[in-house]
């Protein structure tokens, strides 16, 4: 059988009578008396390790480690080059043989065909851009005429500057702002 909880009764009575301090005290006592949830065992150790791995010193150590491996890789490349020098005449002979099988006429025809295809594609792209440009011409001319006036040009420049600064400011503001209204759809 349940019995009325004295703390709850105190809380309700204080709330009903508008005694804020008493209601606060009762609710505080009530909530602090509840067992409080804890993370799993070993949380402090895991967190200390995570902090250590994420620390800037660890970052620097990782960077040094990477640099060391870059050095090792460079040394290995140099060693491979040094060891490969005796094999250079053989490699050159193989390349010469391979090149000998490619005829000049065939290569030239292939190059010309490739170039013509490339030029065709480029030409199509340029034509597309030109058609867009043609449509934008009236707007460009109107803008050019307006900006010819120093007063308009400086006004536009000033507006752009203010807009850029405002955008930057707003971005920072939104990033820093951590109101619940940004995180909870019901607020």
């Amino acid at each position: 059988m349940n019995r009325p909880d004295p703390l709850l009764a105190r809380f309700f009575a204080a709330e009903a009578e508008g005694r804020d301090e008493a209601a606060e005290a009762a609710l505080g006592e009530l909530l602090r008396a509840l067992p409080r949830p804890l993370p799993r065992a070993g949380f402090a150790e895991r967190t200390a390790l995570a902090a250590l791995l994420d620390a800037p010193e660890a970052g620097r150590a990782r960077a040094m480690w990477i640099r060391r491996w870059e050095g090792v890789a460079l040394a290995l490349c140099l060693a491979a080059t040094g060891l490969g020098l005796p094999l250079l005449p053989v490699a050159l002979a193989a390349i010469r043989l391979a090149l000998g099988r490619i005829t000049l006429a065939g290569s030239a025809a292939l190059a010309v065909r490739g170039m013509s295809l490339l030029l065709g594609e480029l030409g199509g792209g340029v034509a597309g851009l030109l058609s867009v440009w043609q449509r934008l011409m009236p707007l460009r001319q109107a803008l050019a005429a307006a900006l010819a006036s120093p007063a308009v040009a400086s006004g536009v420049g000033l507006c752009l500057l203010i807009s850029a600064l405002a955008l930057r400011f707003l971005h920072d503001l939104v990033e820093r702002e951590r109101s619940w209204t940004h995180a909870h759809p019901t607020l």
Partner: protein
């Protein structure tokens, strides 16, 4: 380390002591995790976020102002981390009714090992009702309630941690108490019904 003040502990951490940082985490893991788990609901996510909070605190410790209360500073980081997390992932609605919700948290809240079965049941029922009443609050009210009534922060410390005006905090807490009273009554724990939980 265990007997050190918060300021001394911070000094040791800044001097490079890992043991001091572990002690700092052990000292504040319960309040930080407690706040986050109340806000996100899922203990696993809360643990990840709590770890993120302490790692951020460790990295930002050189900029910590010793004139401020360390707990308030950590709660501020926890508040920011929780909001950032919820911005990325929209929170699910928290229903007032229903037994299936928040089972992990309720299990964590119900400490039945040291009580008689009847007392444990009653305590668990009341814990369940209080938990539901808290979870039914808007997140900004809920956060203020946890900081004020569970962690015992002053209005000023809460305002500083949540970066809100003092008046807003007082208003939110006043409204939160009213809503909790209504919710507890609805769950059968009101003054008219005495203590008669629905579950």
């Amino acid at each position: 380390m265990k007997g050190s003040t918060d300021a001394e502990l911070v000094g040791h951490v800044l001097a490079g002591s890992q043991e001091a940082f572990r002690e700092l985490v052990a000292r504040f893991e319960r309040p930080v995790f407690g706040l986050i788990v109340r806000m996100v609901g899922d203990p696993e996510t809360a643990e990840d976020l709590a770890q993120e909070v302490f790692v951020k605190a460790y990295q930002a410790l050189p900029s910590y102002d010793p004139g401020r209360k360390l707990a308030s500073w950590l709660f501020k980081i926890a508040h920011n981390a929780t909001i950032d997390h919820l911005r990325r992932k929209a929170p699910e609605a928290v229903p007032l009714e229903g037994d299936g919700e928040g089972g992990d948290l309720l299990a964590a809240l119900a400490d039945v090992a040291t009580e008689s079965p009847a007392a444990a049941t009653e305590r668990r029922d009341m814990a369940r009702a209080l938990d539901r009443a808290i979870r039914a609050l808007r997140p900004d009210y809920r956060e203020a309630v946890v900081l004020r009534y569970v962690e015992g922060l002053s209005y000023e410390e809460i305002a500083e941690a949540l970066e809100q005006p003092l008046g807003t905090i007082k208003t939110n807490l006043h409204r939160a108490r009213k809503q909790m009273a209504v919710a507890l009554s609805a769950l059968g724990w009101g003054p008219e019904t005495g203590s008669a939980p629905a579950s």
